[in-house]
């Protein structure tokens, strides 16, 4: 912040500075601070919703503030692979079902972070159980390895950012508040641009995680090999919306007829023996 000159008389700048002061100490659930050279872009770190598949995950991202903040809502972008939100895509916050304009100025960055935490978990969507299961497995796996993810901009590793979890009631309260907020609010994908962005082509911030993912992959492969049919799609770190063709198991179309034919031949041979004797 030091190199920059902001108009401190501007109410929005004052507000952001106050929020930075308010959030300067990491908590067990979240931490967010402005970038050194830009008060209108922050990086944040949050814990996945406790008691869900994202429990244990620690996720990092950017918050981009419009010049009109807090009259207009901030946009959030998740950088850590998580199995829930697409990476490098703006998610914006609003009351369910309305325009982004229905962001309330009396919400704060803390509100937005808590809502995002709560929004990680979502009830099962109408989709095949198998797909849902893969999604869950993927989320759990990514949550496990997220602690080793590194942000090159902040120069920090996820596991070191937040305070360690204790049994404090405050954290539980915050977790509950997060769930409650998520029910009240809505994150919508920003209307425009970026669709699914492949990990490999994403901006250099995400390249850091590739190393971690590779490091971690051998045990995962072994684990996945034990459950053959779901192994391949499960390995992809991007699995926010699997296409049916990725996950549907066509091998059954081959195995079942072969078994039937084999059984028929066996029965035929058996019956011939029985009859001939």
């Amino acid at each position: 912040m030091s190199g920059q000159q902001y108009n401190t008389k501007c109410a929005g700048v004052k507000r952001l500075m106050k929020e930075a002061m308010e959030l300067r100490e990491p908590t067990e659930m979240y931490y967010a601070q402005p970038l050194e050279d830009n008060l209108f872009e922050w990086h944040f770190t949050i814990r996945g919703t406790l008691g869900t598949d994202f429990d244990g995950g620690i996720y990092h991202g950017r918050i981009i503030f419009p010049p009109e903040y807090p009259m207009k809502p901030p946009n959030m972008i998740i950088l850590t692979p998580n199995g829930r939100f697409e990476l490098n895509r703006k998610i914006c916050l609003s009351i369910s079902g309305y325009h982004p304009e229905t962001w309330l100025p009396s919400w704060s960055i803390r509100t937005a972070l808590l809502a995002l935490i709560g929004f990680f978990y979502r009830p099962q969507e109408p989709e095949p159980w198998e797909v849902w299961n893969i999604r869950r497995q993927n989320a759990k796996r990514l949550a496990k390895i997220s602690a080793k993810w590194r942000c090159s901009v902040c120069d920090c590793t996820m596991k070191d950012v937040l305070l360690p979890l204790t049994d404090e009631n405050k954290t539980k309260d915050e977790n509950e508040e997060a769930t409650r907020l998520a029910a009240q609010l809505k994150f919508s994908d920003e209307a425009t641009k970026k669709k699914e962005i492949e990990e490999a082509t994403a901006s250099e911030e995400t390249t850091a995680i590739e190393d971690v993912a590779v490091e971690e992959s051998p045990p995962v492969v072994a684990e996945a090999a034990a459950t053959p049919p779901v192994a391949e799609p499960n390995l992809s770190p991007r699995l926010t919306r699997p296409r049916p063709s990725d996950t549907c198991d066509y091998s059954m179309f081959l195995i079942v007829p072969v078994c039937v034919v084999a059984l028929a031949i066996f029965m035929l041979l058996l019956s011939r023996r029985v009859l001939s004797s």
Partner: protein, 297 residues
């Protein structure tokens, strides 16, 4: 040489803008690499179009000042002639008999709140006693809002901002002739407006039982307040007006240019109704929009 200097000094003075621009670029670039499926393309185009339209509307709005100077009421009369609205023309002429000036307010969804803000500001600039009373009311609202469960420190932030602004008017830290022009500064004025929206919502929430029956689509009062009053850029309706006027404890009169729009079917309506004395703040309502108007002396 001079040009180069000019450029470099510009670069130094606006590092924030540069950083923003480069950040945008970074976001944009991956999108170009990844092919989208056609249906999503279509949806995105549609959304983009809508965004563009919204942007355009916003840009058009921004060409008008938030609060115009006082201009003669005839301007309103001249907006209409026998071809585009003989009815409106007639009503405008009738109003021009009573009212001499108008301040036009930008139609960005905050026009009602902004008009009231300007009206109240002019009152407290003129009358010191009034200013003190007004300050007491505003100061009282911090605790009232927190008691209602408004989020603690953001609410306090807005209240403090408003109260210290009123104080700076009272003790003349702000030069009187700069107060109204100052309301044309987006950030400053909108911050003050959020306070008005909060107390308007606060008043209604304090009287939930009384006002909840007026909400017709089955929403609860607190949901209604969240989505219609506390949210920025949302037009006011009858409940919002009642809330703000009661919260500020300052009566207002609204002149309806469309006779059918007045709740009592007449030309104008006072909030709260049946004032002994005609309210000092008068707004002009035309469908969907409020301006501030002034009586002839």
């Amino acid at each position: 040489m001079g040009v180069v200097d000019g450029q470099s000094s510009q670069n130094v003075s606006e590092p924030g803008a540069q950083a923003d621009a480069s950040a945008d670029k970074k976001e944009e670039s991956p999108a170009a690499v990844v092919p989208d499926s056609s249906t999503d393309d279509f949806k995105d185009d549609e959304n983009q179009l809508q965004d563009q339209q919204l942007d355009q509307i916003e840009q058009e709005q921004k060409q008008l000042p938030l609060v115009s100077d006082k201009i003669p009421f005839d301007v309103i009369v001249m907006e209409y002639d026998s071809t585009n609205g003989p009815e409106f023309r007639k009503k405008a002429e009738e109003l021009a008999v009573v009212y001499s000036d108008v301040r036009q307010i930008r139609g960005d969804g905050n026009c009602f709140y902004r008009a009231v803000l300007v009206g109240v500001t002019e009152l407290i600039l003129k009358d010191h006693e009034e200013a003190r009373r007004f300050l007491t009311v505003c100061e009282g609202w911090v605790d009232r809002l927190l008691k209602l469960g408004f989020p603690d420190w953001t609410t306090t932030d807005f209240c403090d901002y408003f109260v210290s602004w009123v104080k700076s008017i009272i003790n003349k830290e702000l030069k009187p002739d700069q107060v109204i022009p100052g309301l044309n500064e987006d950030h400053h004025c909108n911050y003050l407006i959020i306070f008005l929206r909060l107390i308007s919502s606060g008043y209604l929430k304090e009287h939930t039982e009384e006002y909840e029956p007026f909400i017709d689509n089955g929403q609860s009062l607190s949901d209604y307040c969240c989505s219609e009053i506390e949210a920025m850029w949302k037009d006011v309706d009858h409940l919002g007006i009642t809330g703000l006027v009661s919260a500020l404890e300052r009566p207002i009169r609204v002149e309806y240019m469309d006779r059918s729009a007045a709740p009592n079917g007449g030309w104008h309506y006072d909030f709260p109704p049946e004032q002994a004395e005609a309210p000092k703040i008068v707004l002009l309502y035309r469908p969907g929009h409020y301006d501030l108007i002034y009586r002839k002396d």
